[in-house]
């Protein structure tokens, strides 16, 4: 028989604490996952912003250890990049993807893709876009309805971002041809 005064109870974890901790852990998990993108530094946009002028397409040099500007930048791809800022005016983008393997993408400041087009077999894919600043959206049955000017509208979630054209390298002998093709791409603010 236990005497009340002699009962040396060890500290114990209450089931309610465990349940609350699991719930709090789940909340922390969700918050941490959503926060990671905002806590990280040295992202692609941040790095390229320091190197590139605004609203101009630039062909990056062949990727090597010394010229790499992004993490996991594929060395067998050639890049043309435009750092755009659509806060003042919409951006007119023109590019051509001559064959399959070529890709055109518009990225937000956190690197997320906003718009992606892939090159096709045996025919060039012509791209003519109007990147619309946040809040400036045309009303119509289709968000990307073609205007009479022939530009497809792409509403942007953020005013700033990157346009990237990737061209698969076929070897050093083709560098000049690829560069010439990439250099044809343009990205300019729309003048009203």
């Amino acid at each position: 028989m236990k005497t009340p005064g002699t009962d040396r109870r060890r500290p114990r974890v209450k089931p309610r604490t465990l349940a609350l901790a699991v719930i709090a852990g789940a909340i922390v998990h969700i918050c941490a996952t959503l926060t990671w993108p905002y806590l990280t530094t040295g992202g692609a946009f941040e790095r390229l912003s320091k190197l590139l002028p605004v609203d101009q397409m630039r062909v990056l040099p062949p990727t090597a250890a010394k010229t790499q500007v992004m993490a996991f930048q594929a060395p067998d791809l050639r890049y043309a990049v435009c750092r755009f800022n659509a806060s003042e005016a919409a951006i007119v983008v023109r590019a051509s993807l001559p064959e399959s393997g070529w890709t055109f993408s518009v990225h937000g400041t956190q690197g997320q893709s906003i718009y992606v087009v892939s090159g096709q077999d045996q025919r060039a894919t012509e791209i003519a876009l109007l990147l619309l600043p946040p809040g400036e959206r045309f009303v119509g049955p289709l968000p990307e309805a073609r205007l009479t000017s022939g530009l497809a509208q792409v509403p942007l979630p953020t005013a700033e971002g990157l346009i990237v054209i990737r061209a698969p390298s076929k070897g050093a002998a083709y560098h000049a041809v690829l560069e010439a093709e990439l250099a044809k791409a343009s990205c300019t603010p729309r003048r009203s």
């Binding site: 465990l18 901790a21 250890a65 010394k66 930048q73 997320q112 992606v116």
Partner: protein, 221 residues
């Protein structure tokens, strides 16, 4: 002989001791519960998030041997783990509808890829129009080497008589398709190839998920 003087204080002291012990036990209880709460809530919550963001899970990645593909990479509607993964990585992921970018951080036996070891990557030429196989260090930087060789692609790799290829990852020069790893430490392999066309048949799409090179460890120093 009377013992009243010796026994007298006990009845008064004992309740006090019991009360103090109860208070101390209560404090210990509270501290223990607080520690458990914080450990599970903070450490558990952050650690589990970190693991999911770094390694992914079958919910939003596809795996083939040691190769991992983040299926939502670069998509505007990507899940938060995929977004966090690529934001942390500092790369610009292409939509998985345009390019499939597979990463491998371990060999086929699950051992972490490391520059102190030599590996043989064997493939069958990959049934794709263009592909590229590159090696990076853990942070996604290309590895400095005198040969300035960082990748092979479908047009630069030397194929064997059977149409397959072997790429050797090693610190020192090797005959054939050699990718130098220098003293980079932990390695990451990246295999890029165009995604199957949207109208591709199911078996073509499945075939695109297979046929990735095997990663066999040859030796370690």
């Amino acid at each position: 002989m009377s013992t009243a003087g010796l026994d007298g204080p006990r009845p008064q002291t004992q309740p006090r001791l019991i009360a103090i012990r109860a208070i101390l036990t209560g404090i210990a209880d509270s501290i223990l519960n607080l520690c458990v709460f914080l450990a599970i809530a903070l450490i558990g919550g952050i650690w589990s998030s970190w693991i999911m963001v770094e390694r992914g899970s079958s919910l939003f990645t596809s795996t083939s041997g040691a190769w991992v593909l983040w299926t939502g990479a670069g998509r505007p509607d990507a899940d938060p783990y995929t977004r966090a993964h690529f934001a942390r990585q500092g790369s610009l992921p292409l939509g998985s509808t345009a390019m499939h970018v597979w990463n491998a951080r371990a060999d086929d036996d699950g051992q972490r890829l490391h520059s102190s070891c030599e590996y043989a990557l064997e493939g069958d030429g990959l049934n794709a129009e263009w592909w590229s196989l590159a090696v990076f260090d853990e942070r996604g930087s290309l590895i400095v080497n005198a040969a300035e060789r960082h990748a092979y692609n479908s047009r630069t790799v030397a194929l064997g008589p059977d149409g397959g290829y072997i790429v050797t990852l090693a610190r020192d020069a090797r005959p054939g398709n050699w990718l130098p790893t220098g003293g980079a430490g932990r390695l990451v392999l990246q295999l890029s190839r165009p995604a199957p066309r949207p109208n591709a048949r199911a078996e073509e799409a499945q075939a695109a998920l297979r046929g990735l090179p095997t990663i066999r460890r040859i030796a370690c120093r």
